[in-house]
Amino acid sequence: MSDQTDSGHRPTTLSRRTFLRAAGVTGAVALGPAVLRGRGEAQETPSPIRPEAAAKRGGTLRYAVHNAPAHFDVHQSGTVANIGPQSPMYDCLIRRDPRNGQTIIPDLAWKWDISKDGKKYTFYLRKGVKFHDGADFTAADVQATYERIVRPPKGVVIPRSSLFTTVGEIVVLDPYRIEFRMTEPRPRDFMLGAFASGWNIIVRKKTLEDNQGNLRQVMDFPGTGPYKHVSRKDKEIWIMDKNPNYWNKGLPYLDRLEIYHMFPFSPELGSSFLAGKIDYARLMDPVSWRKAKEMPNVTAAAFNQSVIQAFWMNMKKKPLADARVRRAIHLAMDRPALIEVVKDTAPMQIGGFVYPFHEMSTPKAELVKRLGYQTDVKPAVQEARRLMQEAGYAQGIKGLDFVVRDIQTFKLWAVAIQAMLKENLNIETNLRTVQTSVWFDEAAAGNFDLAISAIVSSLMDPSDYFTAWYGQNGPQNYSGWSNEQFHSLAKQIERELDKKKRTAMVRKAEGILEQDPPLIPIAYEQIYDAYYNNVKGQNPSTFFGIYDVCRWDQVWLAKS
């Protein structure tokens, strides 16, 4: 057994309220197993998501999200095309509370312990849970799932593997208890966030064995989730019905989910929503979203997405290897103007090298006073010109190859950036627009001088993307950037368990990135959702991204 029990956030000071809450939790935890033993019914274990008394049952939710997935293997995917339609059929070990998208709550694990040294995570699993094919859910399924995520077999690529690099052994203690043994501790929020990521759905051990660990072409592999697969028409619709044997009794409320595949930000999605053909639209284009916002019976929500829009500078090219030149380019960007340029194509917000809405990043009010982020760009441009002169490029640079990913936002930005670079620094670029797959091949091979695109992270925690985006040999460090001071600081941030100290380190890292930019951040994306007001139980405004909370078990329809 572990030394310490932790089922949520730990308070830093002991107030009367905190004491009473802690006592209550301790009592509940102590009583929990006894109650379970006495009743022998795992599904009676209290779950944070309980049915609302006022909620109406029944009805069909028509929900539109993204175009069809390229394959069906959720673990191997990095796009909402998978997690959007498939998430309702599966559960995770633990999850983000769908009511706010932030708090971590139990899911298939009804409780978890973290050892004092942070090197053991023990999860207590629900009993009596069944997969959609009738098989019992046990710790062996969790072990098989996570072995695959942590150490994928050859030919299987899982973007979240890097979150679990410190997971050593995954040990089944008994059929309903599993332990993750770490090679070294990581901050608790980071690890729990990794486990609660919506991507880490639990699949059957047998399913993985039957398909040699690759589910890319297995459309309907059994999950334990609140909805069951009924039918699918490729690139059109995926239909699911309520799972009558769902372990969380009373949920879901809806009888049926109809999930429509429509391109994000497309007029088709916007028009389908405005015409009332769908109840809930995700990833709406700004024009349709603003129109929807004016409708009296509609809620239009905006929330933060886990994406940075940026352009990379090839460090192998001489002028760009100079940190002063890169900082000059960084300062020459008129970010408010860039956000304005795409305002009818995709919603954006200003930000630096760390998610601007993360608690550890420089607060927005402070950021917009900083050079490079101000509305008045003159001081920043002045400083940029000084840096170019200092670096020996006062006359500018000619003939940079600017590779543009063939997506409307990037095409619009590339033209604006080309003009800003010419006007502010006399840097001349030749735009080369290429199809998405070509862009990533060119970026990985270093066949560019400047290259514009967007990349995502799984977690909001900087340690996730400090490695992937800015890490030495990081998979998305397309610039080939390296800064010893930053890399050593990033390692410390990964290991630091004290939040205050970590925050200070993240701020320091931001300072390094500002002076020696590995990429030029343009903006951070927002998500526009719209839904008719008869859709209840959903409030995405505090969500981070669209990958953790899309199971629809808490949503109900007022009209039914």
Binding site: H71, Q76, V157, K233, E236, S271, S272, K277, S437, A468
Partner: protein
């Protein structure tokens, strides 16, 4: 006749083999692969060289090109046309599900083009340089000039903002609900049909103008035959031949235009499937759909050629 048929069939086959080779080579020469679509941006960035080799092998893309081509021919012969790289559906399934919608759009567009183009062409020819002729010619030029996808988007927006209307968003086949099916296909058919109708109107006008000055037409008029009968029974059948020829060619434009117009209307037909397959670099789907379009185009042209003899008894096949 039989000899002619065999010769034309062989020509058609040779054309299709040539087309298949061009599609096959072009799709493999073009930069980019399906790996970003399969693995996503993050997965693609984390893929090791060994992973790449394994996945390309699993997809059959690491085989020598002649072998890949032979595999494709085998898939065509089996009737399944191969499997999509992504979701494992066969291309035959895709065509069977989406093909009827695209075929309806093509057929309706052809009907619209004749219904609109022919009367306008006749009116223009009968009263050349009149107000009717000038208006008709201006409209014809307008419809030729307007891009179909743009007109399609305008129609979609106008219906949405003025009437709050949008056509069904998933495929409803004719045999499932004729009314809903009509709502899906009518918009694209009208847009494509109007553009082709404009060509037909211009062609019908010029051909009819030429024919109505022929001696046999003048003779018919001299014999006191009614003007309507002169036009419909004597002049028009002889003027129709080039119009039929151009209709065959225009079907190619309908097929090509349907890709953009289906996208504009959000119709889940084959054109839209082709666009998505191109974005995903699903070359198995792309090569089969392009070949299908080529087959249709070649067959229609063959039919047009054969119909000449029926329409003009003076034509005999040697």
């Amino acid at each position: 006749m039989r000899k002619y048929l065999v010769r034309r069939a062989l020509f058609a086959l040779a054309t299709l083999v040539g087309v298949s080779l061009i599609i096959f080579v072009v799709l493999r020469v073009l930069p980019g692969d399906p790996l970003v679509a399969i693995l996503g941006v993050e997965g693609h960035a984390r893929m090791t060289p060994a992973d790449r080799v394994k996945i390309m092998h699993d997809l059959g893309l690491s085989d020598p090109l002649p072998l890949q081509y032979l595999h494709w021919l085998r898939d065509i012969a089996s009737g399944q046309l191969g499997k999509s790289f992504f979701r494992g559906d066969t291309v035959a399934q895709l065509i069977l599900h989406r093909g009827p919608i695209s075929a309806e759009i093509g057929l309706l567009a052809l009907i619209v083009s004749w219904l609109v183009g022919l009367p306008i062409g006749i009116l223009s020819a009968v009263k050349p340089n009149s107000i009717i002729d000038n208006v008709a010619r201006s409209l014809a030029i307008l419809f030729i000039a307007i891009p179909g996808f743009w007109l399609g988007m305008l129609i979609v927006l106008a219906l949405l903002f003025w009437f709050g209307y949008k056509a069904p968003i998933i495929i409803v086949h004719l045999w499932e609900s004729p009314w809903q099916n009509l709502q899906i296909v009518i918009g694209p058919a009208i847009v494509l049909g109007l553009a082709q109708g404009a060509y037909i109107a211009r062609m019908a006008r010029s051909c009819l103008l030429e024919v109505i000055h022929e001696d046999y037409v003048r003779t018919a008029r001299a014999k006191g035959v009614l003007e309507r009968r002169v036009i419909m029974s004597h002049a028009l059948p002889n003027a129709l031949l080039p119009v039929i020829t151009i209709s065959g060619v225009l079907l190619g434009f309908v097929l090509g235009g349907s890709v953009a117009v289906e996208q504009a209307f959000g119709v889940p037909g084959l054109g839209r499937a082709l666009v998505i397959a191109l974005i995903e670099r699903d070359i198995i789907v792309v090569q089969n759909l392009v070949l299908l379009y080529a087959v249709i185009f070649v067959l229609v042209n063959l039919l047009v050629d054969l119909s000449y003899a029926w329409l003009d008894p003076r034509i005999r096949y040697a």
